[in-house]
């Protein structure tokens, strides 16, 4: 397989490495950059476990995105949500609402939530549920995840999100 030098900006830091051109963003994050917080769940974009944020607003399935396609874009993983040990309100809401059980879907759920709230800071319950529909969870029945998104929405300074044009670094 042909390889290429790739520069990926992840959580505010540039990483330069050589990778085969068919490398998915998920593989690049996990295997090349050793950022294992983004999870493999299906590899077909159905479970949402690999969800990351692109340019602070759009969530994408990193298993369906080639690493080369992400060049020049800002990628945020759940590891980038915490700043100097301070949790992001979404993370706090997930913890306190009991939205985390096995935790495997959590990184993707949190990044999807970041995208939902970046685009719509005060979503209705229906908008939250529709927004989360591409992220599967087998533990919680989604009830507490939906509550966590509602709580995060209340906790966050919405004007700040709009000003910065998104979330993450």
């Amino acid at each position: 397989m042909r390889t290429k030098m790739i520069t990926l900006c992840v959580n505010g830091r540039d990483h330069r490495f050589e990778a085969p051109v068919n490398r998915t963003l998920l593989q690049a994050l996990r295997d090349d950059l050793k950022l294992t917080e983004t999870k493999y769940g299906c590899g077909t974009g159905e479970c949402g476990g690999c969800t990351v944020l692109m340019d602070g607003k759009d969530s994408i399935c990193s298993c369906l995105t080639l690493a080369v396609e992400a060049e020049g874009r800002h990628i945020t993983t759940v590891g980038g949500m915490t700043q100097d040990g301070e949790l992001h309100p979404i993370q706090i809401a997930f913890i306190e609402e009991g939205a985390i059980q096995c935790g495997y879907c959590t990184p993707g759920m949190i990044m999807r939530t970041a995208s939902i709230l970046a685009n719509n800071p005060t979503p209705s319950e229906e908008e939250i549920r529709r927004g989360l529909d591409g992220n599967l969870c087998r533990c919680t029945g989604y009830e507490k995840i939906v509550q966590a998104v509602q709580r995060a929405s209340q906790m966050m300074d919405t004007t700040q999100i709009q000003k910065s044009g998104g979330m993450g670094q």
Partner: protein, 783 residues
């Protein structure tokens, strides 16, 4: 500190912060120096075939391939991924007839996805490329997908030990007539005024834990075989691996990783044998095996599908005089849990209602589907689908309210439990039914939906259940726990209970904190298989109940030692001392007091005065210990109410609301209990409405991933009301009863009954898909 500072509080899970930051380490996240990557090469093109020729030469030549392993390159010993052999005495195991019939790599493919060889390479990609170069010549064999097909006299025989491909039936020596129950069903059935009879079909449902199975194994320089695994039962897998690889148990070390969902999928062994076999082939090099979702689907176990025949005889007043039932389950390609599920499924029926007589038969047949195994509820959701629907059919024909019928006929305190001979110690099902009915608006909705027209039809249904808290006395119930108190009174609890994500470690810590009366954040839970004693594993809804019992006993042992030492130092008899606010104090003389910290500190930093020979306290670090065998299984009960709306033009069923009232005894952590019920309901609704692994005519799986296997998403879920009914169980630690396995059980029956209420049709086949609804409407000409 009051006695119950933590028990009863919704405390976030201990590892929630780590998980919210993406820092929990699952097996696939492990990176070890010099690590190699293993690929299990599976048969994808056949469900049943002989391997005539396996050519690994081209695969071995791929640059970066370290080793290729065929069936002959690994142990020839057979194994059973299930763990019944560890849980029952050998003679019982022999009666049940469990056999070892699996091989690490096989030359006889019995289901699509069976493992035929392994590749070890420098990277996952290289292993994949090499896997594509494995050449196999197969001789196809006849494919059987149901018990009806495989039990035919001329069918291929899967195993000479199991003639007729019947892997299991209730053993005659234990259960004359291959059935259990009580009374003379034939005689009693004849006395019935109404007999309702139906055959129900249960789907092959996948656990769908979000983390696909992954492992790392390392045969290290000390000659130990280490395996990093997300198993639910490390202390059962250890002896099983030891036996398989003919190594002493001391040379098998299991390291529990964070578990990305279990639900039974990780009960016993999964791909540990293949991974360990690869590690043994490359001593000194760790090997990681990450399975794809598709592999996980076709090669690991699922819920047992099958055919459930039930015949219920009732008097005009509803008295259930006789129940006759026969569950024929589909084991799939290997034995695994062939005895366990077929055996247990009936006990959820005998345990639930006061039938005048009952006869349950359970048997299991081999087929060429992927193996069936353990899945949360262990036969209970299957029983619930059949039992709760047949009860409602009888109620409907006799014009009896289904809630009232259940209130009258469910078993309760003192009645024989799911395990005959162990009476129920508590039962709050009446309160569950009453509060649940009120919450959903039962009477009003039952009446309102009785006559409907239009394209949208609504219905409400009820389903009840009982389950267990641990498998005592049917299976071994044992948890060992040590509680070490440090010199500053902080505590380390060492045990080997697995936390599947349900929050087991959090509740165990809550229990310890309240038993010892110290803050939770001064307690650490240490899970290490070398230092921890035995625990049978996380199954049968046992960890809080049995693990909690062990924690309490070990903490009480700590308290006993503190009092013993204070007694020596204060010169006060032990019975006159109590522990209050971190002090050991005399009940009679408040002046006689010694701090717990003093006792702990002087036990560790114990100095002898060289002149007097006196010490500053009683020497020795405080360490409590318990090897706990529970005396009961305190079964929980529960009532679920479901409201549905059905579009009779599209056949689509929308679940509008679920009310789940659960007899929890005492909720140690209410938020975690709710999470179990809500999550369990997601699995139940999938089973009853959308989920089914299906096969084409030649036995190839049609839907080995989430694209074509519909699991409920956030937008599909109904409105939820969870009601925790707390009537403490008199024999349970803190009065607690279980919840985990109960979750996916009675939303199944409740929802099926709600559909039946809406349309007046009993759906005998799950999942109740739009196609099946439309077909049934057409057949019954509902307009």
């Amino acid at each position: 500190m009051s006695e119950k500072t933590y028990v009863g509080k919704s405390i976030p899970k201990l590892d929630a912060r780590e998980k919210a930051c993406g820092q929990a380490v699952y097996a696939a996240d492990i990176q070890l120096p010099g690590m190699l990557y293993g690929k299990i090469v599976r048969c994808w093109d056949h469900a049943h075939a002989k391997v005539l020729k396996l050519d690994l030469s081209a695969a071995a030549k791929v640059p970066g391939v370290i080793k290729v392993l065929g069936p002959e390159d690994v142990t020839q010993k057979r194994y059973n991924t299930g763990v019944l052999d560890v849980m029952v005495p050998e003679e019982v195991g022999q009666l049940l007839g469990d056999i070892e019939d699996q091989r690490i790599f096989t030359d006889h493919v019995r289901h699509q996805g069976d493992a035929i060889c392994g590749i070890i390479a420098e990277s996952e990609e290289i292993a994949e490329i090499a896997a594509g170069k494995v050449k196999v010549l197969y001789e196809p064999l006849p494919v059987y997908l149901s018990a009806e097909e495989s039990s035919r006299p001329d069918a291929f025989q899967f195993d000479e030990r199991k003639p007729g491909n019947r892997a299991f039936q209730l053993p005659e020596q234990m259960f004359p007539g291959n059935a259990y129950g009580w009374g003379d069903v034939d005689v009693e059935m004849a006395k019935a005024d109404l007999i309702v009879e139906e055959t129900f079909y249960l789907p092959k449902v996948k656990q769908c834990q979000m983390e696909p199975h992954a492992y790392v194994a390392h045969y290290d320089q000390t000659g130990r075989l280490n395996c990093w695994t997300s198993t639910q039962m490390p202390k059962c897998v250890q002896p099983k691996l030891a036996r398989l690889f003919e190594m002493p148990i001391s040379r098998i070390n299991l390291v529990s990783t964070t578990i990305g969902g279990g639900f039974g999928a990780r009960l016993g062994m999964v791909f540990e044998p293949e991974t360990c076999a690869m590690a043994l082939a490359v001593p000194g090099r760790p090997v990681k095996v990450q399975s794809s979702r598709e592999e996980d689907w076709v090669a690991s176990e699922s819920r047992h599908p099958g055919k459930y025949w039930v015949k219920l005889g009732v008097r005009k007043d509803g008295t259930p005089v006789a129940m006759d039932a026969h569950f024929t389950t589909n084991a799939g390609a290997y034995f695994t849990h062939a005895s366990g599920v077929a055996f247990t499924a009936g006990s959820w029926m005998t345990g639930l209602y006061k039938f005048g007589s009952i006869r349950y038969k359970g048997d299991t047949y081999y087929t060429n589907q992927a193996p069936s195994g353990a899945f949360r509820g262990y036969g209970n959701p299957q029983t619930n689908f059949a039992l709760e629907q047949i009860v409602d059919r009888a109620c409907s024909e006799l014009n009896i309210d289904p809630v009232e019928w259940r209130k009258k006929w469910h078993k309760g305190v003192g009645d024989d439990g799911w395990c005959m001979g162990v009476p129920y110690s508590s039962c709050a099902l009446d309160e569950c039914l009453e509060r649940g009915a009120e919450a959903i608006g039962w009477e009003e909705k039952r009446a309102r939906y009785a006559s409907q027209s239009g394209t949208k039809r609504r219905g409400v249904g009820v389903g009840v259940m009982t389950h267990t808290s641990g498998a005592m006395p049917m299976l071994l119930e044992h948890t060992t726990c040590t509680v070490k108190m440090n010199e500053d009174t902080s505590v380390v609890i060492t045990l080997s209970c697995s936390d599947l994500g349900q929050g087991a470690h959090t509740v165990l810590k809550q229990i310890a904190a309240d038993t010892l009366c110290i803050p939770m954040d001064e307690i650490h839970i240490h899970v290490n298989m070398d230092s921890a004693g035995f625990d049978i594993g996380s199954h049968a809804s046992r960890t809080t109940y049995v693990g909690g019992g062990a924690v309490i006993k070990a903490c009480e042992d700590v308290k006993r030692q503190l009092i013993e030492r204070a007694s020596i130092r204060l010169g006060v008899p032990e019975q006159a001392l109590e522990i209050k606010d971190q002090q050991v104090v005399s009940r009679n003389d408040p002046e006689k007091i010694l701090s717990v910290k003093d006792i702990c500190r002087s036990g560790v930093y114990n100095f002898t005065n060289p002149e007097t020979g006196e010490t500053n306290g009683v020497p020795g670090q405080i360490q409590g210990y318990a090897s706990h065998f529970p005396a009961h299984n305190s079964p929980p009960f529960g009532a679920c109410f479901s409201e549905v709306e059905i579009d009779i033009e599209t056949g689509e069923v929308k679940v509008l609301e679920l009310v789940i009232a659960h007899d929890i005894g005492r909720a140690i952590n209410p938020m975690a209990v709710e999470g179990q019920l809500e999550g369990g309901a997601q699995q139940a609704l999938g089973m009853v409405l959308t989920e089914e692994t299906s096969y084409d005519k030649v036995g190839l799986c049609r839907n080995n991933g989430f694209t074509d296997y519909k699991m409920f998403g956030a937008a599909d879920m109904p409105k939820f009301t969870t009601i925790l009914v707390e009537q403490p169980d008199p024999v349970a630690p803190f009065g607690m009863k279980s919840v985990g396995e109960a979750g996916p059980v009675n939303p199944v029956g409740a929802t099926a009954n709600a559909i039946s209420h809406a349309l007046g049709i009993t759906f005998t086949e799950a999942p109740i898909t739009p196609e099946r609804v439309l077909q049934a409407l057409q057949d019954q000409k509902v307009a």
